[in-house]
Each structure stands twice: as C-alpha cells, then as structure tokens.
C-alpha cells in the first residue's frame, strides 16, 4: 500500500488538504470560537449578576446544549432553519451551531472563573465609586478571563477537530476534502493519516499560541 505512487499521492494532495484546512477548517473554528466566547461572557455575566428570568433562560440554554450531541444539533439546525424560512449556506449554519454549542460550555468556564474572583475585589470597586459595569469591565472580567484562558483555549483546540462534523451538513472542510481525494484514488488510509497529521500541526501551533497568550496576559506579577 505504501509504495512510490502512494508517496506521490500524499505529496500532491498535501497542498489541497492544507488549502481547505486554512480556508475552511481554521476560519470555521476561530470565528465560531470568538463568537462563542462573546456569548459565553454574556451568559456568564447574567448568571453572575443573578438577573432574574434571564438567568433561568441561560440555565435552560446550557441544559439543552450540554444535554444533546453536537451532531444532532447540526442536523436540527440544518433541516430546521429552512422550515422557518431561514435559508443560509451551510458554512454559516455550521458557525451558528458551533458558536452556540461551545458558548454553553465556555459560559460555565467563565462563570466559575468570575466566581473565583474574591468578593473583596467587587467591594473595593464599589468603595472607590465605580458602578457594577465598570467593576465588571476593569476588574472582574479581566481577572476571570485570565483564569479561564487555558480552558477556553482548550475549547478552541477541540473545536478545530470538531469542525470535521460540519461535513455532515455538506460543508466541504478539510476532512471532507480529504475524503473526496481519497475517493478518487481509492487509497484511503494514507490520506486519512495525512489529514490527521495536518490537524496535529494546527493544534500544535495553537498550543504554542496559547503559551504565548498566557505570557502576554501575564499573571500580574505573581511569582511562579
């Protein structure tokens, strides 16, 4: 199976696979991740502040999302949205589902990180005359974000791999593209190993970015 022609196939398909990785898989993961983080912060803040009604709504959202498989969520949106008159391309639908899905998990991460900020920080903010939103923005969220950063970044790395599920709703991302190439050559295993390798590269780079990011965010002079 691993002969000269296989080697040639691997070399010639590498740029094609990588192209879809850079053009589809990474943007899908990164955009979804950024949107999910915004959503997570909002949902976490609602719970942290204990906003009535909205708080229950947030719990409901987290309950639904964490209790159902991502693949099923993709299907429900893919077949459901057109029924209520929303026609969108599958890439956008994938972003919506991934954002909403990851948002539920990251919201819990953010909430825990916010609750880990000592209450004295909030009280000190009040005592210098700041209002709730100012304290959130300058004190609580930055500290919580620093705590949550490694977990959030973990989520991004998971997301890069989970984007392969988007193939189920016709998004041609890196994995689907690999399947197509493999189908033409009937040489599946080497190509699947190759795409695994590309995922691995992506995640390795992201891990390095995470390290850099943690340094950049600093630890407020805490000696380690």
């Amino acid at each position: 199976m691993f002969n000269a022609s296989t080697f040639e196939l691997l070399v010639s398909s590498f740029p094609k696979i990588l192209e879809y990785g850079l053009k589809v898989t990474l943007p899908l993961a990164v955009i979804s991740f950024l949107l999910s983080t915004v959503l997570a912060v909002l949902v976490a803040m609602v719970q942290y502040a204990g906003v009535p009604v909205l708080r229950q709504l947030c719990r409901f959202y987290i309950w639904i999302i964490r209790g159902t498989p991502l693949l099923v969520q993709l299907m429900v949106v893919f077949y459901g949205l057109p029924l209520i008159g929303i026609h969108s391309n599958s890439f956008v639908m994938a972003i919506i589902v991934f954002s909403i899905n990851e948002g539920a998990y990251s919201a819990e991460t953010m909430r825990a990180a916010m609750e880990a900020v000592p209450s004295g920080q909030l009280e000190a903010g009040y005592c210098v005359g700041m209002n709730y939103m100012q304290i959130m923005w300058h004190i609580i969220l930055p500290q919580a974000f620093r705590t949550a950063f490694p977990s959030l970044f973990n989520a991004l790395i998971s997301m890069v791999k989970d984007t392969s599920l988007a193939s189920s709703i016709t998004v041609v991302e890196m994995f689907t593209r690999t399947k197509q190439i493999a189908g033409q050559s009937y040489n599946y295993l080497p190509l699947y190993i190759e795409v695994a390798f590309v995922y691995l590269i992506f995640c390795t780079v992201l891990t390095l970015v995470q390290k850099k990011g943690e340094k950049l965010l600093g630890s407020y002079g805490v000696r380690k």
Partner: protein, 250 residues
C-alpha cells in the same frame, strides 16, 4: 453640624442580631476609634455605613441629608460612596492593576477624570504614603504593609470627606503595622475625618479624638479619647481596658 450621623441602626443575620440600635455622630476632622471584643459588630457597622451590607433599619445622615437605611436607593448609595473611602483589613487591591492603576481607576473610571490628571493626583497621594517608587508594581509583589499603604492612597485619591478603616493593621506584623499607623497619623494631622476600627490601643490613645466601645451590638461607652482611657464609666469598658492592657504590657 455633624458630617455623619447614624441613628438607631439595626442589623441581623438570620437569628443573629448583630447591631441593636447603634448611634454614632462624627464631626468634620474627628478621628473616631471603634473598639470592642471580637464579634461585637464593628465590621458589620462599617460595612452597613458604606452599604456593603444592607442594614435592616436606621437613619443615615450625611452632609446634612437624611436617608433611611432600609429605603436608600442605589443611586443615592453611589453618590454617597463617591464622597467616602474604605480601607479593608485584607487590603483588596485590584489584583490585575498596578499600584498606579489601583489609585487612578477610581478617578478615570468612576469620575471621568483625564488620565494624565489622574496620574498626577495618584503620584501625589502615593508620595504621601511613601509608595510612589512602587508605582509599576503589582499588588502581589508588595508586602502587606505596602499594600495597605497603597490601599490608603487609593482611598485618599478621590478626596473623600471621610475614610472608614476596618482593622487596617491586624494582618500585619509590628513593623509593618507601625508603617501603616504612621501614615494614618499623618492623615489625622492633615485633618482627615476617619472612623477606625482597631485593636491598636496605642493608636486609639494617641491619634483618635473620640473612642467608641462596642459590645454585643451596642455602644457601651463613648467619649473623648481622654475621658475614655482615663476615666471610663462603664464596668464593661474598664474590664476591656484591663484585659487589653494586660496583653499590651505582658
């Protein structure tokens, strides 16, 4: 006219009645020491006065305006807080901000003062507490005494009419305690109005103009510093002074 007056403040946590009708009056320039055994409600009193805890009832008079503790609005609280400062036992410096930012934040964010002006003011108060050379440090890089002095600078920067201190030195060793007390002594000389919950008898004696002695949620005795220490009227006060003297004098 009194700057601050508390009339009949009540506060309970569930079944536990912590403040049972305390009255306090503070004139401009007064340094009021609040003494009392552990659990007598001193912290709760300060926290209620700055609305970190919601008192059950009582009257709050500040700057000639009267408020009902149980009915005061968030907006009124915010306005009052802009004229007061609070120094915590555990400093509570903003962990993600440098010394300088800790002091400027109340000016730039809460009062919309321009950054360069805020920094000028911040350096001025940091100099006053002897922490100007540490302006770029993070709280975690400072000793407890240094953190507490920055916390005092943070309270000073907003030019409050009164500063509340809750056992500002009880987490510090004697030398660091002396550093912080020295700063507070200077503030008193500058005429800053202060309410200081403290176990430092020396400070209460030397610096304060009035002393309040609390026990079980009541003010047992109050008076000028001189009256209080030289001629206490209540048996409970005499007992307290005897015990603390014993501790101080070994």
């Amino acid at each position: 006219m009194a700057l601050l007056e508390i009339k009949n403040i009540y506060k309970s946590f569930g079944e536990n009645d912590v403040l049972k009708g305390v009255n306090i009056k503070v004139n401009k320039g007064d340094v009021v020491s609040v003494l009392g055994p552990s659990g007598s409600g001193k912290t709760t009193l300060l926290r209620c006065i700055n609305f970190l805890e919601k008192a059950d009832k009582g009257e709050f008079i500040f700057d000639g305006k009267s408020y009902d503790f149980s009915k005061i609005s968030g907006k009124e609280i915010a306005e009052i807080r802009k004229k007061t400062g609070f120094v915590f036992q555990s400093y509570n410096l903003f962990a993600n901000k440098t010394v300088l930012q800790n002091v400027t934040l109340g000016l730039t964010s809460a009062r919309h003062i321009a950054k360069n002006e805020a920094e000028k003011k911040a350096m001025e108060v940091l100099k006053k507490v002897g922490m100007d050379t540490f302006k770029d440090y993070y709280p975690s890089q400072l000793s407890g005494g240094q953190q507490q002095r920055v916390a005092i600078a943070r309270a000073l920067a907003t030019e409050p009419e009164i500063i509340y201190f809750d056992e500002p030195t009880s987490a510090l060793d004697p030398q660091l305690t002396a550093e912080v007390l020295e700063v507070m002594r200077k503030l008193a000389l500058d005429g800053m109005t202060m309410i200081v919950v403290t176990h430092e008898m020396g400070f209460a004696r030397d610096v304060s103009s009035h002393v309040i002695f609390m026990a079980d949620g009541n003010v047992v005795e109050e008076g000028s510093e001189k009256e209080f220490f030289e001629n206490p009227k209540e048996e409970r006060t005499r007992e307290f002074l005897r015990i603390t003297n014993k501790i101080v004098n070994g």
